[in-house]
């Protein structure tokens, strides 16, 4: 893993970090038919960034991160359909708040537990949220979901058009803000201490770090980001259904992150891009084989390519540097 956090890191923007935004601009101008897929990718990048903060940087494994995503998505949908609150910025803000509160409450429960129990609790909480959404049909629409979610024009000016142009740019803007915040946290002393917790929890305690408190902060922040990503999905699709909750999206996100490379921020970019594009082309044709392929991919990455795609890139670059000497 490249040492790109902490006190010896160079926090200045590298030229490669501009690429995702350039790439997005290119997609906007030259691939207008793919804007809805594009928006989906941008949303999942934000979602993956939120997961990387806790899995990659803090070392907390969760199988239920979709709980925050789903709660954010449903909050946005419910605000629009049941309370006729359609302002996109306000709706994102409230969704973030609700997810953050859930993050606070569940964090208080799970962050004091160890290993298997912690893992199980993340699953249980995700299953719980799914169960609630499934049964509270009056509020959530149950198995049918909430359709007809309407979104007011952004700042009263930019209407969500049916070509997905506004949605794409809106997701891009929100992702940019989210990315900026995450990047700041990662390079900060707080970010360094999170990695310290991941590397050696005991040592952190032995230097006086309030481990539980720090984990609560990052967990709540991550939950808020995931909630925003979920709300964005509802705003983009103008629909929210049960598929935003439970193990399925949580597991998928974990696969995306591992595919890209965990604990290195841009893995959260590469993973969703590769995964969702592949899924768009392959999964519809051969759904059974898609699941099989994901399973085999996971085995492959864990056994042979632990750093994911970015890890392999690192190794290839390392070979070049080595031969150049």
């Amino acid at each position: 893993m490249s040492q790109h956090i902490g006190y010896s890191a160079n926090a200045r923007l590298r030229w490669t970090e501009v690429l995702p935004w350039v790439f997005s601009a290119l997609v906007y101008y030259y691939l207008p038919e793919y804007l809805s897929l594009g928006a989906r990718v941008l949303i999942y990048i934000l979602f993956a960034l939120s997961l990387d903060l806790i899995v990659g940087y803090s070392g907390i494994i969760t199988l239920g991160h979709a709980a925050f995503f789903g709660v954010g998505a449903y909050t946005c949908g419910i605000l629009s359909v049941r309370f006729h609150l359609t302002d996109p910025v306000l709706s994102l803000f409230i969704s973030a708040l609700v997810s953050a509160v859930l993050g606070l409450v569940t964090g208080a429960i799970i962050l004091r537990t160890k290993r298997l129990t912690q893992l199980m609790l993340t699953l249980a909480i995700a299953a719980l949220c799914l169960e609630v959404a499934n049964k509270a049909t009056n509020i959530t629409g149950g198995a049918d979901g909430l359709s007809g979610v309407s979104i007011a024009p952004i700042a009263g000016l930019f209407n969500f058009d049916m070509f997905g142009k506004t949605a794409f740019l809106w997701c891009l803007l929100v992702l940019f803000v989210g990315w900026y915040l995450v990047r700041r946290v990662i390079f900060s002393p707080f970010g360094a201490s999170l990695t310290g917790i991941r590397e050696n929890n005991l040592r952190m305690q032995a230097i006086g770090a309030g481990v539980y408190g720090k984990l609560m902060y990052v967990y709540t922040f991550s939950a808020a980001l995931a909630g925003i990503a979920g709300a964005l999905l509802t705003q983009t699709n103008q629909f929210v259904g049960l598929n935003v909750l439970g193990f399925e999206p949580s597991g998928e996100l974990l696969v995306m992150l591992i595919l890209g490379g965990v604990g290195r921020m841009y893995g959260a970019f590469v993973g969703p891009i590769v995964f969702l594009i592949a899924q768009d082309f392959l999964a519809k044709q051969f759904p059974e084989y898609w699941t099989l392929g994901i399973g085999v991919l996971l085995l492959f990455v864990v056994l042979f390519a632990r750093g994911g795609i970015l890890g392999m890139v690192d190794r290839i670059l390392g070979l070049f540097k080595g031969s150049a000497k």
Partner: protein
Amino acid sequence: MTMAIQTKGVCMSFGALTVAEDINFELPVGARHALIGPNGAGKTTFVNLLTGRLKPTSGSVFLGGLDVTHLSQADRVKKGLGRTFQINTLFNKMSVLDNVCLSIAERENISNQFWSTAASQKRIIEESLELLNLLGISGDSKVLAKDLPYGKQRLVEMAIALGLKPKVLLLDEPAAGVPSVESHRILQAIDSLPSEIAIMIIEHDMDLVFKFAKKITVLVQGKVLCEGTPDEIANDRRVHQVYLGEGHE
């Protein structure tokens, strides 16, 4: 006079196994103390009880006169307690510089700052490099802790504890298994510490113990066997028996 660290009647059992029995211990300010005893005597357990990693089944622990028996490890560190571990307990995938900076950042209470960059914390980085220089490993500041040889890792272990500028320092076999170059540096570093710090070392190397300690406590099977100056301990028959067995007079 308030003791730097003190225990009263500390007992610790795991079910039927008693690992510490009625330990009354005092470490004055500025102490140079050694804790010795045969393997399995409970020395590391005692340090864990002092630092809060273990909570005693009965008895109390006092830090600077304050009852800390129910405080967590981190809370006790904030009150001035620092330790090293018998087995290197480092931040393996982080650089040597980061390992020490984390410690200093905790002491300076800036480790919760999420807006500034870590790399811009000049004061902390400078202090960290000074500390690494004292231990002779400032050249390895960018190396990942896991990539260092064992002896240098032990120096990093020491640096992390020193970065806390603790009032009480507990060192668990700081030079064990360390090649002579590094162990020399460790001893030098200990010698250069301010005299107000109370230091206790767990050690098996008797040369080191007799060179360093002004007072020695002997722990056997979880109980304090005896305490005294190095001369007293060296001449104590019971200590001879414990280490060398019966029949050695």
